[in-house]
Structures are given as C-alpha cells and as structure tokens.
Symmetry: D2
Subunit: 345 residues, 4 copies
C-alpha cells in the first residue's frame, strides 16, 4: 500500500521509532493495570520529571494534540475565562472548534512569525482590566503558544521568559503546546530546554505523535496539584487510554538514554539539506522556519506540477496566483528520501 509519490506531507506518516516498537513488543504480553497506573507509565513519568528538572510535576499521558489542548485548556480555565492565542494558533484554526465545544473563547491576537509577544499579552490583559464593561466580557485566563509554532519558528529563551513574566504578573497561566517539541530541541540555535519550559510554563505537553511514537502526548504540570481532578477531566473528555501503558512504554523509551533529545536531529538535518537545495535552485519560501517544516511559496502552475510528483501538505492560497505548500521532515526521513526530493525539485 505504498505510494509512488515521494511523501513529505507531514511528520506523522510513519509508525513509531524502532526503539519504541521494540519495547512495545518486549512488553506486549505482560499484564498491567490500566489507565496509566502501571509501572511503565510511572517510570516514564519519573524520567520526564527528571528531564524537565521538575521533581514535583504531575505528568499525564493523553493520545493526541487537539484532545490534549482541549482537555488542558478546559481544565485550567474557569467558565468565565478564555484562552489567548495567536490567530494562527492550532487551537484557533485547525481543531474544529474543540475549545469552543468546551465552552471557552479563543481570544486571538495577531501573530508575528507565528508567535505572540509579552507586550501583546500585557496589552490584552490591560485592555480587559481597563474596560468598564469587563464583567460583560470573556476574561483572559491563559496564554496558549506552541514550540515550534505553526509556522515552524521558535521562541527564543528571552521571548519565553518575557511571556512567562507577563503571564505571572497578570496572574494567568502559560501553556505550551509541544506537539513537535523534539524538533525544537534538536534545532541548532534553539536555546529553550525542557527545564526552561518547566520553569516558565504552568502547563505544557511533550509531543509523542509527531516525534517518534505511534501516538501519545505527555502533559506536564510543573507544579504539583495545579489542576485538581485532572484524571477525571481526562476521562470526561474521552481522553483516558484504557491500556495506558501503551503510552507509558513509549514515553519511557523516548526518555531513556536521551532519545527524545536526539530524535529530532535527523529531521532537522534533512530540512537543512532541503533548504540549502531550495536556495540554490531559487525557490521562494513563504517565511523562514529553522525547524523541520519548510513553507514553499509557489505560483499555481508550479505548485500543481510539483504535487504530481510529491505529496506535500497544502498550507494556504495567499492570493489568487500563489499557493503555499509545506514540506515536513521527520525522525524517519532518510538520506535517500532527501536525495530524491532534491532531484525532483
């Protein structure tokens, strides 16, 4: 059931990293309790706490990204609060209204390279507080960001520190969506570590689905007890995995011998080779991103031609004549795949 086209559409086209598959196989017929109460999940939680230098953290394993965002945001916000996000944020655009389904408004602010900055958050909170009608309005209760962003860009440590300070001043939570966090961590020049994130955010998730697992996202609340009854909220959101250990075994493997910190490197190196080739061949990028995603700005005819040979991801049509297509590499991208892609380009 393979496809003749060269596939660079996304970073979730393969199964799991071989180390994870091996552990799933080795443990397959063991019996463990369900719902994440097993030893593998416990071990994975301990390793994640250690990797985040957050010894008190509450850690939970959920299945997918939209589910995780919807559950965490709904669990942290009170009913009168909304979540601030970039207008390009995943929760703003591509979650089919999952946040609103949970009863909360996404308060969108303009993005710059997919990012929010501390000044924007301050202005938004101040505007709310200074508004005489604020009791008729949705109160900002959280800031949602992602690392990397939807545009594949990265927050620098200084930016994240400023955002965190703004949130703490305002008394609102900072939540980081790390669906592709492994790729951020493997990007040369990235200066934001897992302990930084745990120190600066109130909640975040370490992505598994796009970073080497069959599925799974590890939610981390650095401060113990930050969200009461989160387990029940996970169940209520339909996000509780019966065989929780399937996620536990995978995250245990991802956090053994530093695999999670390494796993993105292949993808980043592949992306850098592709970017170099694109530069050489005169392609235009819609915007620059240093991680595992590349956004090509193409005229329509060219886009159509490329799509005959390549499976890329449609991003958007910025105007009537152009199309933006996304190339994504992953931990599984091979040198041969990249060679063939460069040939096609």
């Amino acid at each position: 059931m393979t496809n003749d086209k060269l596939l660079f559409a996304s970073d979730y086209m393969e199964g799991a990293h071989p180390a994870l598959m091996r552990r799933l196989l080795e443990t397959n017929l063991e019996k463990t309790p369900g719902y994440g109460q097993d030893g593998y999940s416990e071990s994975a939680r301990a390793k994640i706490r250690a990797a985040c230098a957050a010894p008190e953290a509450d850690v939970f394993f959920l299945v997918g990204g939209t589910q995780t965002n919807a559950t965490v945001i709904d669990a942290v916000l009170r009913p009168w609060q909304g979540v601030i996000a970039a207008e390009s944020g995943h929760v703003s655009t591509h979650e089919a209204g999952a946040i609103e389904y949970g009863g909360h408004k996404v308060i969108t602010l303009p993005q710059r390279e997919g990012k929010l900055d501390a000044a924007q958050v301050r202005r938004c909170v101040d505007a709310y507080r200074g508004d005489e009608n604020r009791e008729h309005m949705v109160m900002p209760g959280m800031v949602y960001i992602s690392q990397p962003t939807e545009f594949g860009t990265l927050y620098a440590l200084a930016e994240l520190e400023a955002l965190s300070a703004a949130c703490r001043e305002a008394g609102i939570a900072l939540y980081l969506d790390g669906a592709r966090l492994a790729y951020a961590l493997a990007t040369p020049g990235n200066d934001v570590t897992l302990p930084d994130i745990a120190r600066l955010c109130d909640a975040f998730y370490i992505g598994g689905t796009k970073c080497g697992a069959l599925f799974g996202e590890a939610v981390v609340f650095p401060k113990r007890g930050f969200v009461p009854h989160f387990f029940t909220m996970v169940k209520q959101h339909g996000a509780l995995l019966a065989k929780g250990r399937i996620a536990g075994v995978q995250f245990d493997a991802l956090f053994t011998d530093g695999l999670y910190l390494e796993i993105g490197r292949t993808a980043i190196e592949a992306a850098e080779r592709i970017r170099a080739a694109l530069r050489e061949k005169g392609y235009r990028l819609a915007f620059f991103a240093p991680t595992n995603q590349i956004f090509l700005l193409l005229d329509r005819a060219r886009a159509t031609a490329l799509q005959e040979k390549l499976e890329l991801s449609f991003w958007e049509n910025p105007d009537a004549d152009h199309t933006i297509l996304r190339i994504a590499t992953s931990w599984a991208t091979t040198k041969e795949d990249v060679d063939r892609l460069i040939d096609v380009l």
Copy 2:
C-alpha cells in the same frame, strides 16, 4: 515490572494480539497519509463492511470506548434530545459525565441483567409523548445498549429485534456499544451476529481495546450518511487519531481470516473452566453471565483474603457485609493462568 499476584482484573491488561503486533511491525516504516485516509484503514473498512454485510456502511476508527460513546451520542442526538440507557450502563455510571459534558441527559431506566427491553423503551417514549409538559422535558432520541452488557450478559436476537422494532416505531436511534463484542460473538449460545447488529442498529462500535488491539474502536453507521460531518465531530471531540493507520492496521488484522470472530474463544473457554471450578467449590455468583466476566459475591473477609493473592476488579458493595469482585478473562488468558487461579480459589 510484573506483579506477583495473579491478575484477572480486566480484559485490557495486555498489549495486542500477536497478529496485530506483527502487522504493526511490518508496516511500521511505511509512509501513509494521516487521519484514516490511508490504505490500511480503507482496507479495514471494507473488511468490516463485508463482515457486517453492510456494504454501504460508514466506518470510522476512534481510540477508546468513552470517547466513542460521547462522540457518537453527541453526533446523533439533537440538542433537545437525551439518550435512554440502563441505570447500569457504562454511559450512566463510569464515563465521568462525558455524555452530560456534551450537553445531553442520560435517561436511565431500570436494568434486568444489565439489559433494557422493548417494552421499557416503548413506555418511556410513550410517557414522553403523552406528557402535556413534554416540551419542557428532554426528548428520548436514542437507546444505548451494550453487547455484552456491563453485567456480562447477552441480548438474544429476539430481544435485539424487539428493541430495534421499538426504536424504529418510535423514530429514535438504536446504538450498541460493542466494547467487548468479540466475547459476545464467541459465546456458545449467542445468536446475534455482526450482520444482525448492522441490520438492527443505527450505530454501533466493534471494540478493539478489549478485544485484541492496543487501542481502537470501529464505529459503524450501517446507513451511509446517517451522521453528517461525523469526521469533523470526531476532530472536535479530540477523538481523531493523527496516525489513523495505526488503528486501521489493527482492525485490518482483526478482520483478516476471521480473527475477530475467533479471538474471544480463548477467553470464553477460560471463563467456562473458572465457572465450573467455582460451582464445584461452592462459590456464589452475584449474577450469571455467559461471557468473559464472572461476578463473585463474597463476604468481606473472604474478599479481602482473595485480593491478597489475586488482582480482581472491585465491582460494588451490595451491602455492609458483602463485596462483589469481577474476574475477567481475555484473548490472552493462558491455560496456566486458569490453572493457577483455580488453585488459589
């Protein structure tokens, strides 16, 4: 990380059936599109349609049972409607309010052996229709049942036909939760087949999590187009798997060479041996169930003693002196496990 106790607490303690693991491994590094658009999912859907003799059916793969119930019920009901369920139904008791989180009332009716009957449904619908205040009330819009029930019992074909007829007369949907459907299908004396279910229900799911898969439930709407925009509803409920093919590969394997129809047999045979031993040793059952679950009625001291050697599932305390514990077998239960269990008993 194994446990010295003999584990008979549930049917989701192991990973996946070896045939599924093998296919996951074989396909692991293939690239496929996400969200169930891959060839394995398509193949699994075709096989499920064939097994159900429902060539027009819409089939979707979700992750877990509560999630599936919440998504299907919310997608089928209109806002003014609720779902009828037995007071012992999973949606009534053990889903942490997931149905109500979606805005719908669970209209509970008394159970008999975990089951509802057609007369109850008719009375409930008639009572609603005959009530002069019905416009101030929640309209019954669906009947939820499970096969086997929470009590491990089975609907006979005649019972299911009667329920289906009552629902069709009433113009409301019949939805069957098949979390443990493989065990029902493998039970001697069961006379309800997959084609019967597809013919008699408007929606059902074929359980994977408890029936040999790592996770996964196959939702079947026998009538094409029965639920518009279900894909988006799945996404909105956080139930859409990015690497949809992981579910697809598993269900493809489960529906290859009749595996799903066979996989429950080991569990049923093990349960029958255990039931025979229990009878012989004079144990009391809380109620009789022919499938893979056994409900022991024990006095407290005995229950405590047993739980030191066995990991069983707490069911309930029917009164101050007694406890009901559940023994569950599964496709993975071995002859040795059963031998040891009988020794302990």
Copy 3:
C-alpha cells in the same frame, strides 16, 4: 381574552401584586443605570439581607426559575461534579436538560414526598468515596432541594438541619430552590424561616415569578464571595437583565413591610378551604401537601369531565385508569374563585 373556564392550573397566571405594579408605575420614567447597579436593586438587596439575617450575603436578581437553577448550579459546581436531586426534582424532570446543557449530571435519588433526606445524601457521597472507580465517575458536588418541593410538601427545620449537616460534613454545597418560597413561609406549621435557610444553605433563591412578581428570582449566597465572577456567569447564561431595576423595584416592594411573608397567606387559606371541600365530597388526593398545591387522583372519566369546567394542571397518569390533576392557588386567588371551584367540585 379571558376564558370561561375556572382557572386553577398554576400560580403564575396573573401579573404582579398591586403593590409591585404601583411601584413599577411610580418609578417608570426614572432613569437608572442598568444590570442591577441601580438604587432600587441595592435597596432590595439590603432588605433581603436583613430579612435573611445574612448581612454579608451576595444577592443577585435573575429572571426565571430554570435559568436560575442552571446558572447557580453551573457556577457552583466544578466540571467533574454533578448535582444530587430527587428524581422528582424540577432540575431532574422539567428543565429540558438545562443542567446537562451546562455540562453537569443530575444524580437522581428516590424521593419521599418529594424530599431527600440526610441519610440518602450521606449514602450517596459515601458510595462515591468508597468506590474504587470513583475517578471515572461524576463526583457529587451539591445537593439541590426545593421548598416547597415539587409535591407541595415542606422540609421541617430538623430535616433541613440534618441535610445541611450532611452536606457540610461531605464538603458539598446545599442549594434550595425557592420558586414558591412565599407559600412555604405562609403555611401553618412551617418552621423554616428565611434566616434558617440562609444559615443552612450555601445558595438559595427567593421566588418572585410565582409569588407576586411579573418575573424575577432573588439568588442569595449567604457567604460573601462564595461564587467568584457570578455576575459574568449570569451574563454568559443569558440571564442578566438590562433593566435590572425592574426586578429590583419588585423585590424592593416584596420586601417592604413584610409583604413577602404575607403574600402567600391568601393562597394557603384558599387551598385549605378547597382541601376541606374535597374531603367532604370524598375526593382522593394523590398525596398530601400542606401548601398551595393540591393533587387530585381521579379516574379518567372524572378527570375529563372536570377539565371541561376547570383548567387544572395535568400532573401525570399513574396508571392506565387514573390521572393526577393539580389545583394551584396563588396570592391572587379570590374568595369568589374558591366558591365557584367548590361549586363545580
């Protein structure tokens, strides 16, 4: 547009008590700020605090009963909690699923004369706490009762004290729906006063709609700050009245010169005359209620005959041969109405 039939169907068939209409007229063209920030609302709040001997209470004016129940319950409960109610409770039956629309389960318990008792609440909370699956279940977070109940019966002070003690021990809120509270307060033998309610409940509402106002319910939280951001929750629930003073003026009048404590007396006296006449004429009551509602148990033919001359309220059909009809008196019921009713009976 009057009706030839004698109307005893409900206690919300007339407009407002003349004292309220007079004040609405007198103040009609004054200008005041909106949303309950006006002086009349402030005055009404002060008078209600005084009448309840609850000087710190937060008081809000909402429009109707279902709205009030849905808003208060949603504001007090956290997402993982549900509200305990009698299976006959208004929130359980006749609010079209408004509580579930807000995401919360109504945990129904059997009623006795429309009432819950402390032992039931304790058992329900203990069952939850003792259940090993409780994290998969809806946590009881509040008890909902009404005074009078749906059956027109009254909690005695000792019963209310016991319920309150059970709730406080369990750490859950006690909420009293006082849609018809004026009739309770005016019933001979009632020993529960407004200060008792304020002392024993965490939230309650003093009904206006059925007790002399055009509309309006006064929500009282005896403990200041018990519900944060309640104003915004009221707005979000669509329950905030722009011209809040229309409710304020009415409650100000209802709590001037003890009107609220008097206003039910006419209704109770009328009901007592009717009950005496019914006894004399050999009618059967479905159950006894000492307040302004009377529940006649009639065979069908008799019920049909009566309904030709009287507009009563359909209650239910307890079996195939009988019908229960409700007679309700109100503050506006006249001696002549009662005379004519007794003639017809």
Copy 4:
C-alpha cells in the same frame, strides 16, 4: 433614587413606554396560561407577522438580547458550525462568551462602520470550502449582523440584499440582531423595512428592551418550521418566561397602531439636535452614526470633566490620550433633557 447627573448613558435607563405600562395594568389581574400560550402573545404574534408581511412566520418572545442571540445561534447552527460576525459585533465582544458557552465559535471578520459586506462573507465561505483542511475547521453556518450596528450605523437595503444573496448562495443562515431596531426604522434615510428584513433574513429579533418595553425581544423565523423544537431550546437555555403574557402584552401594545414604527422617532430627533449642537461647538465624533447613538472622541481631561456632569457610556480608549464616550437617546428622552445636555456641552 434619582441622580443629579444628566443621564445619557444608554437607551435602557427607563421603564416602559406609558402605552405598555397601561396595558400591563389593565390586564394585570387576568388569568392566562403560561409560557406564551396566552391570547395576548398570540395577538402580538399575529400583529408582528402582519407588520413583517410574513404570514407564516414563527414568532417567540424571549427576555434579553444576549439570551436571544445565544439561543437562536445555538438552535440554528449544527455542532460543527460557527457564526460569522464583525469583530465589533455584540456576540464577539460583550456577551461574556455566551456563544462559546453554547459550543460555537464566533468567526470574526473585520468591520467597516460596524458592518460586514457580502464580499467578505463570500471570501470567508470560499476560503473554508477551498481549504484542504476544512474538515478540521469550523464551518461557517450563519452570518450575524445587527441593525443598527454596534456603531449605530445602518445597513442600506442594497447592502442587506447583497448579504442575503451571499448567504443564500452559500447555503448559510442570515440572522439580524434588532436590539435597537425601532431606532433604525425611525431614522431618516433608512430604507430597510420590517418586510425587507423578513424577506432577506432567516432569523431576526425585534428589540423590546431598548425600544420601549420593560424587557423582551421578539424572535422571528420568517419561514415556518425553520428551527425544530425551538420552544424546548428556549426552555433549555433558561430563556422561557413563565408569565409569557407579560412579554406578549408589551409586544401587542408595541405593534398596535404602529407604535413600534413611531417609538424611535423622539430618540432620533433628540440625537439630531445633539449632533447639530456638537458640530457647532466643535466636538469631534469618533465615527458618524445616524441613529440614536453618538460617539464622542475626547481627550482624557475633557472626558473626565464631562463625566462629572453627565453620565455617558464608556466606549473605549482608542489610544493613551483619548477616550470615546457614547451618548444614547431613547424613546423617553425629553426636550428638556436635550436642552440641559446642550447647555452642559
């Protein structure tokens, strides 16, 4: 409890128009059935159908604007749909998240003078339909506008016709919020009549609260049966008035002898006198609006000074040095009020 300041903060500071109060008094002690089943409500519905030239219309009386918007939008949209609104729309800003509480996203588009245009709607719908990820997105299912807009401006008939055509082409509903509709109808130059609105919209409401009633909004669905079970949805949203006839009597009076078409005239004339005086005295307007609202752009010091003598409505701080204050006139504004205001200015 009057206020020494001259009050021009809003158009809901008084009670009801004397004609309505008179009818409420005259009918006060009549007995009628509840929930809008009374003769006055029926008469009001008939008059509204006639005024709208919509003989088949379904008409319902709700209490307030936010409630009406939340109920209508939730009743018309399906779960996967959102409502398009101007970023300045009331549903986008000042309803405390009531639309999201109902589970729906407000899809905001930039406004021009508070308005949306047909081209924007087409682009938004086309963008959704052309997006390959649309199944992961919220589908536009309705357009929300208001007449007058939040900025006091009016849609011209040609604009409304274009919007309506765009919606019908797109197969989505057009909903018009007429909270201040009487002022639109009374504005010289307005060319949009009630029959136009009924012809061009799928749902709209005729505002009572701000247009002469104590409270109340008349929802009109020109096409009979457009929203199934709307009555139950109203109940579920807590928006059903027990004494429905209080709204019915008021709307019956508003639609007797053309009162609704006249009632805004006083407000418009007052606003025109004030605008003339402002022009003369050199005040700056934040933007021009022809209806009963005037938006003054003032430097902060001036704003503060004015607010000592006048109660105006805070609108926003467009920058650090300026404030926008709103003057609103109403059906109750007197010549003397205007004289005094002009003196103060």
